[in-house]
């Protein structure tokens, strides 16, 4: 990066001196107000059209703008949430009053469509979802991704585990890969953010990856979780390839562009908010009620003895383990201010959160400083700096081969057994290798992240005339973090005491640096009064470097935690280096504001490709026509706005950085280092996956602009799919990456927005988002194979031509011996419904908001049930076994009557190996995602009471995931033992249970 910085610096310096200021010009003063209420709008942007030259309104809405070198100009006034206004000024102008209208349906919102260009929403040829600060956070959230749940069509946000600190999958427009990366590209203020999920190494203690599956199962946090949601001004989601093509080979899963808050000129505004709340268990799975006979049957004579000795007591271990009411607190302060030349935003956040399991929790401390400074009327520099520290204590949950995780241990803990500590002593568990209450109280699984995200942007106008402008934009950024993972399994624990080297200490250190440099040129040209051409071109340099090391020490000296206070150690290291180079060129044509056409091309080379010198090309072309602007549009009063749009684009998904190498892996015997071929053979000609998308739709406004409808259909053809071609192990290798196979994904997105009431005293907005997506494997160059899960009979996913890639199969076969499809992890559809009601009374303003999220279908392999069956503690263990209660497929050969024991639990176990269906459940749910009720004290009261020192005062309550309706029998149908994998999600092995959160909020401005 050193080289780039030098270059950037030279460019900056040269361009700085190249700037010339000339005498003469005009001066404009004015005021920006809300057209309806007459209230001033502070922070509205006033720019000379086509340039960066401009200013912003102060706290009273007042602005002063001097424009050199000209005697007339066209001013563009933009304000978030309001329709853009354009005015022409000639000569010096005073007291220009600009009334702006609220843009509830976001028609004139400006949307970023590339590295340096923006388009008004009304012209957009893609269904780009945008969301602003208020919409993003009606209820507080632990991590950013959670706040996106249910917010728009085409996105599916699914948590992997309820553990504090996140671990969330964000899927845009369905499955697009089998083996490649699944998460969208996150760009924050021009920097590509690392969103890796780095394993803690806890698998070394739980041995989760030692048997059925070797995939890591530490259920880590993905690092986008670090971003402070309160800093976000807006989020734009480029959902598919047609919108994201300009991001090339990183954009197959979509791009999420995050813009943080900026300063506002004028009196410095201070916002302070304080929230308190608590977490509590969302749902219990219940446990079996034992009788003496059942205790004898399940746990032998010892079980019966204990049952009798304890008088058959019933201890609710879910209450013991998950019954904590975790205290939450969030303090957030921000300052926004500045002058016409310089503006700043400074924020601080302290959030602490206790989990529903003792000794678990999450803490985040973040600070941000955003500065924008105008060097001259032709150049502007912006710097965004962000420091974040997050700490999470995640406990030990999920899959396990040592029976130490809480869920597994409780499955083997019948309610009549008392393992609660007495006088500080934890009794040994007679039926399980660990006492989970002891583990919970002394086991440590901590993740600590320190992160800096710094970016800068320099804009220079190189040339401008009445008809043309040429701008040069440099963006450079660094995302650096260090992550420390600490796992301590103290030697006094039951399962450690019997080990050869009791006690384990794991220390993982990861250092990651992402850096990028973008150089862009943008040329605007008014070919005639009605045709505007925008040409953009640029170069991209992107580097990523990650170094992960892990030391595992065993034989820990009691009470000690350091890795050197132990008798034996092992260490592991992995480095990931990725370097990408790209270019793009793009042309946009705007004809009379009615027809809008774009064509672009991106080229990308990457060190991850088999041929690192080769540039892969990603074209895009799209267009939109605002039919309602043409004279033939006869229904202008009924449908004031109607746009049809179509877009085509291609993107890629880069191969994993190590796919091209055949590795030799280290081993050791008797102190002598050895090398063995890795189980994966390198692929010399690996290339990116390619997604081509065609998207079509229309946007319409009805009812005097009080209703909007957005309809989008998309179809994606994905080719060159990465496949891990299974090599026969007799070759010495188990697998090899190849490009082969095709997949098609189709979907429909419908968004309906309505403003049923718009009066002075009530503004009510309602929105419904509907989303449905289907994927199908259309070609497979390898044999059909099973992917994900632990084994076929424990439920797995079948990759086969003509099938959905998320098809679930198991051991079940029909009378002809054909495999029966047991389900599909992809939901049938998703529907969210939100209502936002703003009441304006003389005694203050009230806001009521709620968001329901309904996911229909989407099956889950609930192996948690199998674990509780094995422990004979399933809540429905003694229920009668029928074909229906066993969920057996009608065409299967296995029937409930095959069971010698007609109770559900024993029958499920008896059928295990022949039928997996009893463990595949429907994951349909309806959740009350967000609820918020707030009250704002009227301005007049504040003026009287605080003498104007307090600009607003708001109190309220809010909650997240307050209600869940589902028939799913695990803790939450949103689950993924294997984290953010494309295929192999929706497997439940008793994760950290989900919680509901409830807050009391207070905020005020100074």
């Amino acid at each position: 990066m050193g080289k780039f910085n030098q270059w950037t610096f030279s460019v900056l310096m040269l361009l700085f001196f190249a700037t010339l200021a000339m005498a003469e010009g005009i001066k404009v003063t004015g005021r920006v107000i809300d057209k309806n209420s007459g209230d001033p709008l502070p922070g509205a942007e006033i720019t000379v059209k086509g340039t960066f030259h401009g200013t912003a309104s102060d706290i009273d809405g007042v602005f002063i703008l001097e424009i050199p070198d000209v005697d007339e100009a066209e001013l563009e006034i933009t304000y978030i949430g309001y329709k853009t206004v354009t005015v022409k000024v000639t000569g010096n102008t005073d007291n220009l009053v600009i009334g702006m209208e609220e843009d509830i349906l976001k028609t004139s919102e400006v949307v970023v469509t590339g590295f340096a260009t923006t388009v008004k929403r009304q012209n957009l040829a893609n269904a780009v979802a945008t969301i602003n600060a208020a919409e993003l956070l009606p209820a507080p959230t632990q991590t950013l991704e959670r706040a996106l749940e249910g917010k728009f069509a085409g996105i599916r946000v699914t948590q992997n585990t309820g553990a504090p600190g996140g671990g969330i999958d964000v899927n845009l427009r369905g499955v697009s890969t089998i083996e490649g990366s699944t998460q969208p590209l996150y760009v924050v203020d021009g920097v590509i953010i690392n969103n890796d999920a780095i394993q803690s190494g806890i698998d070394l203690v739980t041995k989760a990856a030692a048997a059925g599956s070797r995939n890591p199962q530490g259920q880590p946090t993905n690092r986008i979780a670090d971003i402070n949601p309160n800093d976000i001004e807006s989020i734009e989601v480029l959902k598919g390839a047609s919108a994201a093509a300009i991001y090339g080979s990183k954009a197959t899963n979509g791009v999420i562009i995050i813009t943080t808050k900026r300063g506002v000129p004028g009196k410095t505004r201070i916002d302070i908010s304080q929230r308190f709340g608590y977490n509590s268990l969302l749902k219990k799975i219940g446990t079996r009620r034992f009788t003496a006979d059942a205790a004898l049957e399940a746990y032998g004579q010892q079980g019966l003895d204990i049952y009798n000795q304890n008088g058959g007591i019933y201890i609710d271990y879910e209450d013991e383990m998950y019954g904590e009411r975790g205290f939450l607190s969030e303090t957030s302060v921000s300052l926004r201010g500045g002058s016409n030349k310089s503006r700043f935003y400074v924020s601080g956040l302290a959030r602490t959160e206790d989990g529903i399991i003792k000794n678990t929790g999450y803490q985040k401390y973040a600070t941000r400083f955003n500065l924008e400074h105008k060097l001259s009327d032709r150049s502007e520099i912006s710097v965004f700096t962000n420091y974040i520290r997050t700490e999470s204590d995640r406990g030990v949950t999920g899959n396990d081969n040592t029976n130490i995780t809480y869920g597994f241990s409780l499955a083997f803990t019948p309610s009549f057994l008392d393992i609660r500590p007495k006088n500080g002593e934890y009794p040994d568990h007679p039926f399980n290798p660990s006492n989970p209450l002891h583990t919970r109280d002394v086991f440590v699984n901590k993740e600590l992240v320190n992160r800096f995200i710094i970016s800068s942007q320099f804009k220079q106008n190189l040339y401008r005339s009445q008809r043309q402008t040429l701008n040069f934009i440099v963006q450079a950024g660094v995302d650096f973090f260090s992550q420390e993972n600490k796992v301590i399994s103290p030697p006094e624990l039951q399962y450690e005491r019997n080990a050869t080297f009791p006690g384990a200490s794991l220390l993982g250190e990861t250092v990651s640096t992402n850096s990028n440099l973008y150089l862009n040129l943008v040329h605007n040209f008014s070919a005639s009064s009605s045709v505007l051409l925008t040409t953009a071109a640029g170069l991209q340099f992107e580097n990523a470097n990650l170094n992960n090391s892990l030391i595992e020490s065993r034989g820990l000296i009691p009470t000690q935690e350091n890795i050197d206070q132990a008798s034996v150690s092992k260490s592991f290291q992995e480095r990931v280096i990725k370097r990408d180079r790209g270019f793009f060129i793009q042309e946009e044509v705007d004809i009379q504001g009615k027809i809008f056409l774009t064509a672009g091309l991106r080229g990308d080379a990457s060190s991850a490709n088999g041929d690192p010198g080769k540039y892969y090309l990603y074209p895009k072309i799209n267009g939109s026509v605002r039919l309602s602007e043409f004279p033939f549009w006869a229904v202008k009063n009924l449908v004031p706005e109607f746009k049809i749009r179509a877009a085509y684009g291609a993107t890629g998904n880069q191969p994993p950085a190590n796919a091209k190498y055949t590795e030799l892996v280290p081993s050791n015997i008797d102190g002598r280092a050895g090398l063995l071929p890795s189980t994966r053979r390198g692929s010399k000609d690996i290339r990116p996956e390619r997604t081509e998308e065609l998207e079509m739709g229309f946007d319409a406004l009805f009812m005097d602009g009080r209703a909007s409808l957005e309809f989008t259909y998309y179809t994606q053809n994905i080719s060159d799919l990465f496949l891990i071609a299974s090599l026969p192990p007799s070759s010495g290798f188990n697998e090899e990456f190849t490009n082969g196979g095709k997949m098609r994904t189709n979907g429909v997105e419908i968004s309906l927005g309505v403003t049923p009431v718009r009066t002075h005293s009530l503004l009510w907005n309602a929105r419904v988002n509907f989303y449905k997506t289907r994927s199908e494997i259309t070609e497979l160059t390898v044999d059909p194979f099973n992917k994900g899960g632990f084994a076929t009979f424990l439920g797995t996913f079948r990759i086969q031509e003509g099938w959905s890639p998320t098809t679930i199969i198991g051991a079940d076969v029909d009378a002809n011996g054909n495999t029966i499809i047991l389900g599909d992890a992809t939901p049938d559809f998703q529907l969210s419904f939100s209502n936002d009601m703003n009441f304006n009374f003389s005694f203050g303003k009230f806001n009521v908001y709620f968001l329901w999220d309904w996911r229909q279908g989407g099956d889950v392999i609930n192996l948690g049930k199998l674990i509780t069956d094995l422990g004979a503690t399933s809540a429905d263990y003694d229920d009668p076994a029928t074909d229906a209660s066993l969920n057996l497929p009608a065409n299967g050969v296995v029937k409930a009557s095959d069971c010698s024991d007609q109770r559900l639990g024993p029958c499920r176990l008896e059928l295990l190996g022949k039928s997996t269906a009893p463990y595949v459940e429907d994951g349909t749910f309806i959740k009350l995602r967000e609820l918020s009720v707030s009250y704002s004290v009227p301005d007049s009261w504040l003026r009287n009471f605080f003498n104007g020192y307090v600009s607003y005062w708001k109190i309220g309550i809010s909650g997240r995931n307050l209600l869940m309706f589902t028939k799913y029998q695990g803790y939450d149908p949103e689950v993924s033992q294997f984290g953010n994998v494309a295929i192999g999600r929706a497997i439940d092995t008793i994760p950290y249970p989900s919680s509901r959160t409830f807050y009391f909020n207070m905020s005020f401005g100074l």
Binding site: G212, T402, D580, V665, S667, P728, S730
Partner: protein, 436 residues
């Protein structure tokens, strides 16, 4: 209104900078090509690392193999609460061809075979005794690894085409034996031309067998095992003559896999503290009921716990104590087995007296009185009994009962669902139409 063009020199400079940046990008393409930051390439690794790699690799997933064959052979149970397969499919007699029990040991053995094949390639860079030494080692180890997979799959055969061609057929059991024999014999020939010392060092598991001469004895010991599996009794005796068989030596003289806790080393997963509250790997109760009074092999190889463990309708109170810690060694082949192989060969050749001598040597070492062999049937029964107690948890019981056609004599604990498995299925991954 005037146009305000940028001065020409400035525009020129800007363009120059952009051109400069563009060329930087071109130049930096070289940077995109760099070696693997994490691991070496095959081309430039020394022989020693591959030899140690092979030795280390022999241990990978061997514990799964040993547990599986011990469970199927009704020597032991493996109570794994987190995985129902050890008390399920293995005892039901229908293991999942896609499951890890079938696949992982199989794959790990072939990984060592691949390592040995790399060694054989590399041997061509050497000459004379050094080349012979590398070949002798690689062929012997390769044969041993293939034999373990053949034991696992038996009549299903193994793959002898190592190219990775999915359509390559499985070699039959007879072809596999022939290939294994051939490699052992070629390895033996090479070892005799390998001079006094190997051009590499072996672990302490080969202590006493770590030069070409000693290693050749190990080679012959394996050769005897392969011969006896095919009822080639005279071959077995011939091979034993050149092996390390010695009635006067300790029974545990032999070659071992060794374990450790060093960086990258493996621990012995067979070990569990026999007095832990819950032990997963436990002996089958019949190991106690069938034991002769005073048999030290019984007393030393199991620990009778004060409590009875009940799991999945199986009960036992016998913890396995064949290892003393998780860095204890596991045998590959040892003197006690060689004596019993000789006894078996002699029974096969009708020389009961010779067989009786060896059997009684083994019995004496176990603190038991001598037996008399009267006829072939009784001799076989006695031999199988001795093999069962002498070679407990060494991976023999199931193989032995199978080759003598006596699988149905193994105990069945849950008659309603259990069945004795005769061979592991062909791993799904070796067949063109996998799964479905």
């Amino acid at each position: 209104m005037r146009n305000i063009p940028l001065q020409k020199t400035q525009l020129f400079r800007t363009i120059l900078i952009l051109v400069g940046l563009a060329s930087l990008m071109m130049l930096s393409c070289g940077e995109l090509n760099f070696p693997n930051p994490n691991a070496p390439d095959l081309e430039n690794v020394p022989i020693q690392t591959l030899v140690s790699g092979a030795e280390a690799g022999m241990r990978i997933d061997y514990a799964i193999y040993l547990r599986a064959v011990s469970v199927v052979g009704r020597e032991a149970y493996y109570f794994e609460p987190a995985d129902p397969r050890y008390t399920g499919e293995l005892l039901f007699g229908r293991p999942d061809p896609g499951g890890f029990i079938v696949n992982r040991p199989w794959s790990a053995r072939y990984r060592v075979v691949a390592d040995c094949r790399f060694l054989l390639d590399k041997a061509n860079n050497f000459s004379g005794a050094e080349k012979a030494g590398i070949e002798g080692f690689a062929k012997t180890i390769m044969a041993y690894q293939l034999l373990l997979n053949l034991n696992y799959l038996d009549e299903n055969g193994i793959k002898l085409d190592f190219s990775g061609d999915l359509n390559a057929p499985m070699a039959s059991k007879a072809e596999a034996f022939a290939f294994i024999e051939q490699n052992l014999d070629e390895g033996y020939t090479a070892l005799q031309a390998a001079g006094d010392a190997f051009p590499f060092q072996l672990s302490s598991g080969f202590s006493g067998f770590d030069n070409p001469e000693g290693f050749a004895k190990f080679n012959r010991a394996l050769r005897a095992r392969v011969a006896i599996y095919q009822n080639k009794f005279q071959d077995a005796l011939d091979a034993l003559d050149a092996s390390f068989i010695d009635p006067n030596a300790p029974m545990d003289l032999g070659v071992y896999m060794v374990y450790g806790t060093g960086l990258g080393d493996q621990t012995n997963e067979i070990y569990e503290n026999p007095e832990a509250p819950f032990v997963k790997f436990m002996a089958h109760p019949s190991f106690e009921t069938d034991a002769e009074a005073g048999d030290q092999r019984f007393a030393s190889k199991v620990f009778k716990r004060s409590d009875v463990t009940k799991f999945d309708d199986l009960t036992t109170d016998l913890a396995i104590t064949v290892t003393e810690s998780d860095v204890d060694r596991l045998p590959i082949i040892r003197n006690e087995e060689l004596l019993l192989i000789r006894a078996e060969a002699n029974i096969g050749l009708g020389k009961l007296a010779d067989a009786q001598t060896d059997i009684n040597v083994v019995r004496q070492a176990a603190g038991l009185g001598p037996v008399t062999l009267t006829d072939a049937d009784q001799a076989i029964n006695q031999l199988l009994h001795e093999r069962r107690y002498s070679l407990f948890i060494e991976g023999h019981r199931w193989v032995d009962m199978r080759r003598f056609g006596r699988l149905d004599a193994l105990p069945i604990d849950r008659p309603d669902k259990d069945k004795i498995l005769d061979k592991m299925p062909i791993p799904e991954t070796e067949l063109p139409e996998s799964g479905g």
